[in-house]
Structures are given as C-alpha cells and as structure tokens.
Amino acid sequence: MSTKESERNSSAQQTLDILYDISQLLNTQLDKATIATCVGMVENGVNPEALAAVIQELRREGAALSTQPPPNMG
C-alpha cells in the first residue's frame, strides 16, 4: 500500500516536473506550486484558456498594485 502510495507520489512528481519543463520551454514564468494549483484546477474542469486569462489578469493586477503609491498598499 505504502509502495503504491509512494509510486503515485513519485509519478505525480514526475508529471509535475514534466509540466514544469514544458512551462519553462514556453516561457510561462510559473513556479512549480502555481503549476500544481493550476493543473489541479484544470483537472477539476476549469476552462484552461480562461484560467490562463485569470493568471494573466492577476499578474497584471499584482504589478499594478505594487507600482501604486504606498498609501494604497497600507
């Protein structure tokens, strides 16, 4: 049982590695954790392109907020 569990884990790890490699290739600038989250969402049936849009949006949002003057941050 434990061997199966570990096998599963390792294969999940491998999959994540592969996806990470691909994302590196595609220059998506995602870290492994985010990829894991996103893939999880995709697995849950989220529209992948919409998700991509969300990521994009959040990034922009984040960038906007970080360049906002400090009072907003506070």
Partner: protein, 853 residues
C-alpha cells in the same frame, strides 16, 4: 466551482500579495476571476491533441528558432502521456500554451477585451478617484451623433426631415422636380440636381448622395418616356420600333404602379407618424434607404431600357433587333431575362413578316425592316403571257435596217431580260438587317425560299399551289423568338418544299428539259440528220452574198429540213420556237457568215435560259455550223477526187498530183472528223450528263439550277472554242482553228479548179483523139498550150501552198493542244495526232508526207 474558487486563493496570494491583507480586494478579485472563468474564452476552438502540439511547436520555434526546444517539447509530451496521474493532459498543455501566448502578447498591450472595458473604471470608481473626461462619458452616455445634433441645433441648421425628402424623391423618380430637390436644367440630355432645402434645414451630403442615386431612375425614366412619346407622334415609324415602344410602354406602366404603391405607403407612414411628430417611423415607414432597396431592380431595368432607346435612335429594323440580341449574351441572369422578354416582344413583327415571306412568298414590309428588300422597279406585275410576245417580222427588212431592227431588238431584249433580271434583282438580301439569332445560312435559305415562292406565284402563275401551301403551313404554329429550334426546322422544310416545287414547276409545267434538249439538238446540232438536211437545203443559197438572202426562204428551208428529218417528232411547242434568221450583216459578207438558227424562250423559262446563255448558244451554233459546213464541203470534194477524177479524167501525167490532193484531203477529213467527234462525245454529251444528273436530283433552288446550266454551257463553250485560261491567249487556238478552216475551204476551191481544168484538158484530148480517128466531135478549140501549162502550174502551186499551209497549221495547233491546261483539249491533241503524225519538223526528218487515212 467550489474547489476551483478555493484554489483561486493561493493564486491570488501568489500574484497579488496585497490581497492577503485586504479582504475586500480579495473578494473583488475572486469574483472577478470567477467571472472570467465562467466566460467562454477559447471554448469555441475544439482542437485535438496533435493540432495542439503542432501549435505549441510552432510557438516554440518562434521563441527559439533553433528547434532544440521543439524536439525537447515532443520528448516531454511523450513522457507526459506515459504518466497515469493526470486525466486532462491536453487541457493542461493548452493552459500552458495559452498563458505563454498571452505572455508574449502583452508587450503590444493588446489585452483581452473583457478585462479592458470594465475593470479599470470599476476600480477607479471604487477608488473614488474620478477623472473629468471619463466621468463625462460615463455619466452622460450620449453618442457623438447626438452631440453633433445638439451642436447643429445650437447653430440653427438642422437636417431635413427624411419623410419630406422621400416625397420629393418619389417625384424625382418620375422626372418631376420636387419641393426641396429639383432638376436644374430642362434639357433632356443633362439634368443636374439642385438641393435646395430651406433656410433652416439643410440636406446632409450622405442623403444627397442617396437622393442622387434614386434620381437616376427619374432621369432614365424621362428619357425612355420622351422616346415613347416622340415615336407615338411621329409617323413612318417601323413596326419593330413600334413594338419596342409598346414594350417600353408596358414597362413604364409597371413602373407607375410601383410608384403608386410607394406613394400609398408613404402617405400611410405619414399619417401614422403624425401623432408623434418629428420621429420617423422606424419599423414600417418609408425611408430613402428602403426606397433605394426597393427600386434596385427597376434601376437595372431602366438602364437597359435607356440603352435600347439609345440604340433605337440610329439603328432600324433588323439591326435594332440585332442590337437588342447582343445583350442576351450577358452573364447577369436578370439582364438576360429582361432582354429575352424584350426581344420576344420586339421580334414579333419581324416574325410576322418572316412567316408571310416564308410561307407565301409575299413581302409585307412597309417600313423596310426585313432583311429582304424588294426592288420597286420590278413590281408584283404578272407577266405578259408568252403568246403575246411580238414576232420579229420587221427584222427581215432589206433596206430599212436601222429603223426596223433597232426598235425590235430593243423590245425583244427588254422582254428577254425580264425573267433573269426579275429573279436576280427583284429581291435583295440585306445582311446588316438579318437578326443574329437567325444566322446567315438560314437567312439565305429564308431569302431563297421566299423568292422561290414569289417566283412560283407571279412568274409561273401558280398561285393556287402557294396558297394551299400557305394554308397548310399556317397550321404548323407561329414562329417566335422563343423557339429558335422550331424556327430552323420550319425554315428547312419550307425551303425544301419550295425549291422542290420550283423544280417541278420548271420541269413539268414549263418543260425545261424539253427546251434544254431542243437547244442541244438544234443549236448544238445534236440532230445530225436535221443538220445535214438543213445544210443541203441551205448550202447553195448561203454561198451567195448576204443581202440576197430572204428570211422566208430561210424559214422555208428550215421547215423542209425539219420535215425531212427525225426532228419532226419533237414537240410542236419546241419546233414553233425554232427560227432561222440572219445576223446583222455588212457589205461583202456571204450567207454563211450571217445565217443563224434561233430558239426563242419566254418567261419564266428565260430565268434559266437568259439572254447571256442564248448568246452563248448562238455563238456555239455558229462554230459548230461552220464545222459542219467544212465537213460537208470536204465530203463533196472527196467524192469528186475519188470518184469523178478517176472516172472522167484520163491524164496519166497528172495522176501523181491527184494522189497528192487525195492525201491532203484525207488529212483534212481526218482533222474535221476528229474535231467533230471531240465536240460531240467529249464535250457536249459529257456536260449534258452532268446537267441531267443534277436535274434528276432535284436539289437546291432556282439559283442552283441557273448555276448548273451556266456551268454546263460554259464548259461546252470553253472546250469547243478551245478556250485557254491564260490571260491574253484566250482565243489564240480558236483563231488558229478558223485559219485552218479557211485553208480547207481554199484548198477545196483549188481542187475544184484543178478538177475543172483536168476535165477541160481531158475533153480537149478526147477531141484530138477523136479527130485523129476521123471522128468529128466539135470544133477543136485553139488552145494555147503555153497558157494552159501556166494555168496548171498556178493551180498546182496553190494546191501545194494550201495543203502544206494546212499541215503546218495543224501541226502548230496540235502542239499547242498538247500543252493546253484543259485535259479534254489535250486529249483532242492526242486524237488529232494519234499516230504521232504531227511531230515537230526536226523529229520527223525521214517522213515526207506519208499517207494518213
């Protein structure tokens, strides 16, 4: 979605660190993100896996052109597919791919539209930092159009109410100036629109353009209408043009109907929109644009009509039909249909004329629109019946040659020309008037058919048949444009029937064949016995001077010849036409030069046997008659030199001379016999057979018949007269032949002299011998031996001269015949020199006047 939203939070935390602390911001973002997720971005593209990987590879190649990353990607994908964990690998890759492409698209700041429009403003509102301009847009919500309107109101210039303009436009479409928009010039050709408006209102340029478009209809309309009006009042307008006007009128009526409907519509609209003023009825009302759509088809139609009107201005009749027909080859089905319709209408009078022409041979074409025109100088006058043809009694007048002759000849030739002239010139074919849809060959057939029928009716006095035919063919249906196939069929049948009938009429009713064979028998001396008899009867008198000949003697002799030969069995009608007469003679001519047989023909036979043909027959007769004369003379001479000379003349010292005479004469007889046989067998009979074959076939029309007879006659004339086709040498051989004939006659005369001399001489010798025996038989004439010897030498010299002259000339003739372009003539050369007797001098050195029978 619960899991999805729960997973959103880590993402939010990652990218917007501020959201960790700011709850409202977090909620805001989460709801926003969920909105995005619920949206349908990219869901339309259903891609399969391989397509997706292809896309990715292409993208990778864009990022790094080396291709290494692409192969690496392929590798990774293969490994990914081996992994059992993920169930939606394709979507995962799609996600990465989409993100990647969004990433790079970012620099040119093209963003997903959903985000750009609402998000910033929302945030800005939320952030309570309003911007002046954006607030103006946001709160007012007015479009630039409405602002422009306000601006205009401010300025006091406003646009016209469209419904008013619609009314004006309806007027314009009828060529009438409206209240606000009017035509500037009253001239037909150039009409300009003036947009008046009133002081307060103006018409916007776009509306102006629209009205201009619509007004084109009005312009075209007034042109077409003008044309129709003008033609209505004018007289002498062709039938085809009339029917064009008729069609145009129908079209215009349709157009009025359309205008009326539109007007009703407009008034309804206005009543409805009267309650809420100013606002144009949006749903059902009449606007300029709607008007434009509704009249689109009419614009095309009007344009076509206007083109036709333009064309009708300078073409006429069949040419006009042609002009319209040229538009049927249009690729646009609408134009094609329209022109077909128009053509159907316009060609109706044409087909009516055609039918009349094709089935009854009548040309009813008061405006000269048909492609057949009648020459007015030859009216529909039926002919004078043959019996009333004036006889040529005054021709024989001895003294008053000028008065009697010329008058009669004119009269006669006037009548003669009629048949041929009538056939050839009464109707003429006009190619430019022939409608294209008929085609030229059919046009010719139609032309020929009508001509034949007309000819049968008026020249052959056989109108009953034509009328019956007409009735029969009328049941067959009406000819019209829509049924070109049927038209061609009926043309073909009508053509065949008409030409067949024409042949029948000519051969059975008018006995063309009898006349042709009579011409051959009498004028071409086909009846050998008749020719012999005539020669015998006339021979003595023809040797006398021409002015001592009398016509009644000639006709009496002709009568005798006919009675005593097999010609008696020929039809009376033929014999009646045969006449002997003399040509115009001058001083010093003898009967042989002026005598001729004549065969009289009347209409309608003279269509085939026209004046020209008869002249040729006469020419041939003259030649053949001369040949016959030579033959007869030689026959008589031969009897003398063989019978008489051997029986009565006992002059052994002249026996050798007689032998030479016989040789030469035999040569001459050979020559003339061969020549005659050639004329008879090779030329006349062969040509005759061709002609008869044609007549038996009964194909083609009268023109073909005339042509055939003409070729028959031409062939005979050319071969008998040894006509050479080389320019300048046409009659060289004929002249040589006539030369030879002259030599023969002179030789014959010389032999007669020789014979007479020998006869006297031997009579003198007989007397001397009688005196020696003591028998007194008469007073011995004191003959001068020297002078008689001289006389003999002269005669012998002439005999020699003529004999050798003859031989030389025949030699030359044969040589020329051997290189004659005509094969038959070449064959005559072979006939004459069958044993190679006539060889050039140098080739026949050893031969010296060998015998030749």
């Amino acid at each position: 979605m619960a899991t999805a939203s729960s997973l959103l939070e880590p993402l939010l935390h990652t990218y917007v660190p501020a959201s960790r602390t700011d709850e409202s911001l977090k909620n805001d973002l989460v709801s926003h993100c969920q909105e995005i997720l619920k949206s349908h971005i990219g869901q339309k593209t259903e891609t399969n896996f391989s397509q997706l990987t292809d896309l990715v590879k292409r993208r990778l190649l864009q990022l790094s052109p080396s291709g290494a990353s692409a192969s690496k990607f392929t590798n990774l994908v293969a490994r990914l597919l081996d992994q059992p964990v993920l169930s939606r690998k394709q979507e995962s890759i799609l996600f990465l791919f989409a993100l990647s492409s969004l990433n790079t698209r970012q620099p040119p700041t093209i963003q997903i539209p959903v985000l750009t429009t609402s998000f910033p403003s929302r945030r800005q509102v939320q952030q309570q930092s309003p911007n002046n301009i954006s607030s103006l847009i946001g709160e007012d919500g007015a479009s630039s159009a409405s602002r422009l309107k306000e601006y205009r109101l401010l300025k006091g210039v406003s646009h016209m109410n469209e419904s008013l303009l619609v009314r004006d436009t309806l007027y314009l479409m009828q060529g009438i100036s409206g209240k606000y928009v009017r035509f500037s010039s009253l001239k037909d050709d150039e009409k300009n629109l003036v947009f008046g408006g009133n002081s307060k209102n103006s018409i916007s340029p776009s509306t102006q353009a629209l009205i201009l478009r619509l007004a084109e209809l009005g312009y075209l309309y007034s042109r077409v209408e003008n044309f129709v009006r003008k033609r209505e009042s004018a007289h002498g307008v062709g039938m085809i043009e009339q029917s064009l006007c008729h069609y145009l009128q129908i079209q215009l009526t349709e157009y009025y109907r359309l205008i009326a409907v539109l007007e009703t519509h407009l008034s309804c609209t206005q009543r409805e929109s009267a309650d809420p003023p100013s606002s144009v009825n949006e749903e059902t009302g009449l606007s300029l644009r709607r008007l434009d759509v509704w009249v689109t088809e009419w614009r095309l139609r009007m344009r076509m009509m206007s083109v036709c009107v333009e064309g009708a201005r300078d073409s006429h009749g069949g040419a006009l039909v042609n002009l319209i027909h040229s538009y049927t080859d249009n690729g646009d089905p609408f134009v094609r249909r329209f022109t077909d319709e128009l053509l159907e209408e316009v060609s109706r009078p044409f087909f009516a004329t055609l039918q009349k022409w094709l089935f009854s041979g009548e040309l009813y074409d008061p405006f000269e629109e048909f492609f057949v025109t009648a020459d007015s100088s030859h009216g529909h006058v039926p002919y004078v019946h043959p019996s009333s043809l004036p006889g040529g009694i005054s021709q024989m007048s001895n003294e008053g040659v000028f008065g009697g002759f010329s008058g009669d000849a004119e009269d006669l030739s006037g009548h003669r020309e009629n048949g041929q002239k009538l056939w050839e010139t009464k109707y003429r074919f006009r190619k430019d008037m022939l409608p294209l849809f008929v085609g030229e060959s059919f046009g010719r057939k139609i032309f020929s058919t009508g001509k034949s029928l007309n000819f049968i009716r008026y020249s052959c006095l056989d109108s009953d048949w034509v009328v019956t035919r007409e009735k029969m063919s009328n049941t067959g249906g009406i000819l019209e444009y829509g049924d070109i196939g049927g038209l061609e069929r009926s043309i073909d049948t009508a053509y065949q029937v008409a030409s067949h009938r024409l042949f029948e009429v000519f051969i059975e009713k008018f006995k063309l064949l009898d006349h042709l064979s009579a011409l051959k028998q009498f004028l071409l001396l086909g009846h050998g016995d008749f020719a012999d008899q005539l020669m015998e009867a006339l021979g003595p008198s023809l040797a006398r001077p021409a002015n001592t000949l009398y016509r009644h003697n000639l006709t009496a002799n002709l009568e005798t010849a006919i009675r005593s030969s097999s010609a008696l069995r020929d039809p009376v009608d033929v014999l009646r036409r045969l006449d002997a007469r003399m040509l115009e003679y001058s001083h010093g001519e003898i009967g042989w030069d002026v005598f001729t047989l004549e065969y009289k023909v009347n209409p309608p036979i003279d269509t085939v046997l026209d004046l020209e043909a008869m002249e040729k027959y006469l020419k041939l007769f003259k030649h053949l008659w001369q040949m016959k004369r030579i033959e007869k003379t030689l026959d008589k001479g031969w009897m003398r030199v063989t019978g008489g000379a051997q029986k009565f003349i006992r002059m052994p010292e002249l026996e050798f001379e007689w032998h030479k005479v016989r040789l030469v004469m035999a040569e001459m007889i050979h020559f003339i016999r061969q020549l005659e046989a050639y004329c008879r067998l090779e030329v006349i009979e062969c040509s005759w057979k061709v002609l008869i074959d044609f007549l038996n076939k009964k194909e083609g029309d009268l023109d073909a018949l005339i042509d055939c007879h003409r070729t028959y006659l031409d062939r005979i004339a050319k071969k008998i007269l040894l006509w050479n086709s080389k320019p300048g040498k046409e009659e060289v051989l004929l002249r040589q032949l006539l030369d030879i004939f002259a030599f023969i006659l002179q030789f014959r005369e010389a032999t007669d002299n020789f014979y007479n001399f020998c006869l006297t001489e031997s009579a003198r010798k007989d007397q001397e011998m009688d005196a020696e025996r003591g028998l007194f038989t008469g007073t011995p004439k004191e003959s001068d031996l020297a002078s008689s010897q001289e006389h003999l030498a002269g005669i012998l010299g002439r005999l020699n001269e003529y004999g050798s002259g003859f031989s030389e000339r025949v030699l030359v003739l044969v040589q020329q015949l051997q290189i004659h372009p005509d094969l038959d003539c070449r064959f005559l050369g072979i006939r004459l020199s069958f044993s190679d007797y006539y060889k050039p001098r140098r080739e026949q050195q050893p031969l010296q006047g060998p015998a030749k029978a």
